[in-house]
Symmetry: C2
């Protein structure tokens, strides 16, 4: 097998020691340990799993600065933002712990026996949950903590009673190792089997995990290309397994005439902030903005974006893909480069802004709706709000859609847009921005393909746990007759 190099995103040079990729035999051994740890983990009391999650959260919070600094060296995401992301990650681990301690999601449900013949009569049925078994987790490069090694997929699978095998992200291999060591130590300290959480390294190891007969589910956050390839492996196995891929999307924004009139400057400044948060490398980035044609708004947005400092993307590879993606859209007939993409020998990029007219958008929607991971947006100048319905018909599935409207003026229009956008998105934001996804019990982060490969499920919020359990009905058992069985 080959080795993985950590690449300095500021220089493009290899840094730290190279890391060996997992061999097929190593992958098999990791899976075997996961299976061995699995049957106990699936049966322990939820409170014990909660204790394990809290132990990992405490280990993260104990000394976040060195973790954030290492992450910054590998991702250029900024130490401050990364310290915030660590807090979000431990908060998320504790959310699942709390659900296990006091929640009702995993509670058993009972249909008491009904005497008489069917269809009305039936024996007693107790419906409870069992964990699926070992889960393969593929974290994201852009959220090395919150969607990474110890992020939502890992936390929710562990909470569900599944063991987890993470495929380390190649963009931050040293952070990945550090986090795995930290979490396994925390698990041991909490009196748990550390093998409930393990990792493998390298692309081949990742594919091997998803095809391994003893792995029972996959969870992924990342690009459409990689996610789809793994989804295809998961679904074409002799025994297919659920594969929860969050593949990102273009996340459309609709701004009404009234909203523009009422809050033109604020909208320009807030949109610029949302577009460039995490240097535009967020799966919730508002990529395509449908807005009534308004030069003052455009000027304001150009002004705000031009004031954002340039900086490097996650990696030289990210930069290459970004330039390719933006050029592809900019080359479409009728697209204006309001702020051209910054290129050059330096690895840093400044925000870019493209624009096109509504008719041209309709004509070239397929080419224009490519997700470009980085600080760029596409403005679609609309004639009127009547264009919005036509636009929605052209859009594919999205994680989130956004509407800016004025309550007293746009009541009916906003209702209509929220209803229609609900058919293509997993979340609809009104008078806010799609970035800054809240971690709450009922959050939903998913949506129609390509937002998610599993349209019913969420990768954030307490319900994320329910992706890794399945119901089992125990028929004809009462506590009186079979004490302790249930």
């Amino acid at each position: 097998m080959g080795t993985l190099n950590s690449i300095n995103p500021f220089t493009g040079e290899a840094q730290f020691d190279p890391i060996a990729e997992s061999t097929p035999a190593e992958v098999d051994a990791v899976v075997a340990r996961s299976v061995a740890a699995s049957s106990h983990w699936a049966k322990v009391a939820p409170a014990e799993r909660a204790r394990a999650l809290r132990a990992i959260a405490e280990a993260l919070d104990a000394d976040p600065t060195p973790l954030a600094e290492l992450a910054h060296q590998e991702t250029a995401l900024g130490a401050d933002r990364l310290v915030g992301e660590i807090a979000r990650t431990s908060f998320q681990l504790r959310l699942f712990a709390e659900e296990l301690e006091t929640g009702q999601l995993l509670a058993a449900e009972i249909d008491e026996a009904v005497p008489g013949s069917p269809p009305a009569g039936h024996p007693r049925l107790v419906r409870r949950y069992v964990a699926l078994g070992p889960v393969a987790v593929f974290g994201a490069g852009n959220f090395p903590f919150a969607f990474g090694q110890l992020g939502g997929d890992t936390a929710s699978a562990l909470a569900a009673g599944c063991t987890v095998i993470v495929k380390d992200h190649p963009g931050h291999p040293h952070l990945a190792q550090r986090l795995m060591e930290l979490a396994r130590l925390a698990l041991t300290g909490a009196g748990c089997d550390a093998d409930v959480l393990q990792s493998v390294k390298g692309m081949a190891a990742g594919s091997a995990l998803v095809s391994h007969p003893a792995v029972h589910a996959g969870a992924f956050t990342g690009s459409q290309k990689a996610g789809r390839a793994l989804f295809d492996i998961a679904t074409s196995r002799p025994q297919p397994i659920p594969f929860y891929g969050e593949l990102g999307s273009i996340n459309p924004v609709f701004i009404t005439q009234a909203a523009l009139a009422a809050r033109r400057d604020e909208l320009a400044s807030e949109l610029a902030a949302s577009l460039t948060m995490g240097r535009g490398q967020l799966c919730t980035k508002p990529s395509v903005i449908f807005v009534p044609d308004d030069q003052a708004f455009i000027d304001g947005l150009v002004h705000e974006l031009s004031a954002v400092a340039p900086g490097p993307l996650l990696s030289p590879l990210s930069l290459e893909r970004y330039i390719q993606g933006v050029s592809g859209v900019a080359d479409v007939t009728g697209v204006a480069e309001l702020i051209p993409i910054s290129a050059g020998a330096d690895l840093s990029v400044a925000p870019a802004l493209l624009a096109t007219g509504f008719d041209n958008f309709v004509k070239h929607a397929d080419e224009l709706l490519e997700e470009c991971f980085g600080p760029v947006g596409l403005l679609v100048r609309c004639e009127s709000e009547g264009d919005f319905d036509v636009a929605i018909e052209r859009l594919e599935g999205a994680l989130v859609a956004t509407v800016h409207a004025v309550p007293d003026v746009d009541g009916a229009l906003a209702s209509h847009l929220v209803d229609e956008l609900s058919f293509i998105a997993g979340r609809v934001v009104v008078n806010g921005w799609p970035t800054g996804l809240a971690v709450t019990p009922w959050q939903h982060h998913g949506g129609p393909y390509p937002a998610s490969t599993s349209v019913l499920h969420t990768s954030v919020g307490s319900q994320a746990m329910m992706r890794f359990v399945r119901p089992v009905v125990i028929q004809n058992v009462s506590d009186e007759q079979w004490p302790g069985l249930l």
Copy 2:
């Protein structure tokens, strides 16, 4: 396109008029009408969908005898049993209606806004459900009512707010037509758009449905081969869709020494009844029975099975597959034919019984665990209950597993077996039989592959509805600011 012939299962001859298969243009037209009906249906009040389901139930109950007789002519399942199945089908339609009228499954959930900065602070989130859109339903041949045209998949998808397109089952094409006419009339009578429920005919039309971009989910009950082929189409689309295939399984039974000693005769007689219910053509049939070696039990079972009258299977094709399947198992080294398969020019079959020793089972498990749809079982003579754990490791996913044990004697053993069987089955029955699946709110009919292609989901019970909706979070909307929006 070709034509479909209804085949008389008693003679193997074509009967009634041939039916034309749907052309590609007809399939497109049906889907277009389904899409047109879909947006209204997804938005109507749940009570209106409940009214539609109740109207179909009433139409079924109004005059069941001619329906049962037509079904019997096409399936040989017996008019009495089919009248019972119609009652079960209308009961099921009403169960979903009741859930829509008074249940909480589709209720919105709210995370109220929390002031402050993230991760703790967040805007108001309202999580509600939207219907997926048009659903392709493939009913089963062995339950022309309860798992057919108007069965659980259709009822649950309509309840969820999805429109439905059924691919008519080729085993009962005239009944399928009759049921579709009846249901569409009932829908019109209830003031609903009849196009929420339509059908297409022919295998090519079925594949075309599952690959159609405007179809958003598939639901199937039937053979592993056909179900897997459709699952593969659904998951390899450019935009994959959920495909809920219930493919059947071998449904193991475990009988303890104490249970055998206490209820030897009853167990033999009840097992014979369960094995031959619906002439063994049930996806819940207890196909493989692990039992301590006991000649008296075997003699009793042979006696009971020999007393069951022969009769035809669903179709000459079913018979051909059955003979092939049973011969395949009987030909495995070390398998005894306690009751050989009845063959001959006549289309009817009598129950058959095969047996093998435990060591031989372990050696040939893969060949012995083929599902044979028809009145046959395989006894595995165990040395002791210690063999049960080894057996469970060899089994693949099952819809249901069964344990017969004695409460005061087998407490620990039964607990252990129920726990272990929970990892391979969707339902575990204690001191009962797997056939006669109850239709209740919390029922679970599914399980690890091949029991289901979608291990988290059930095709029976109120939760079946949740396969056809997905959550959407509406962020930052309050009723005060946006009256009527939510």
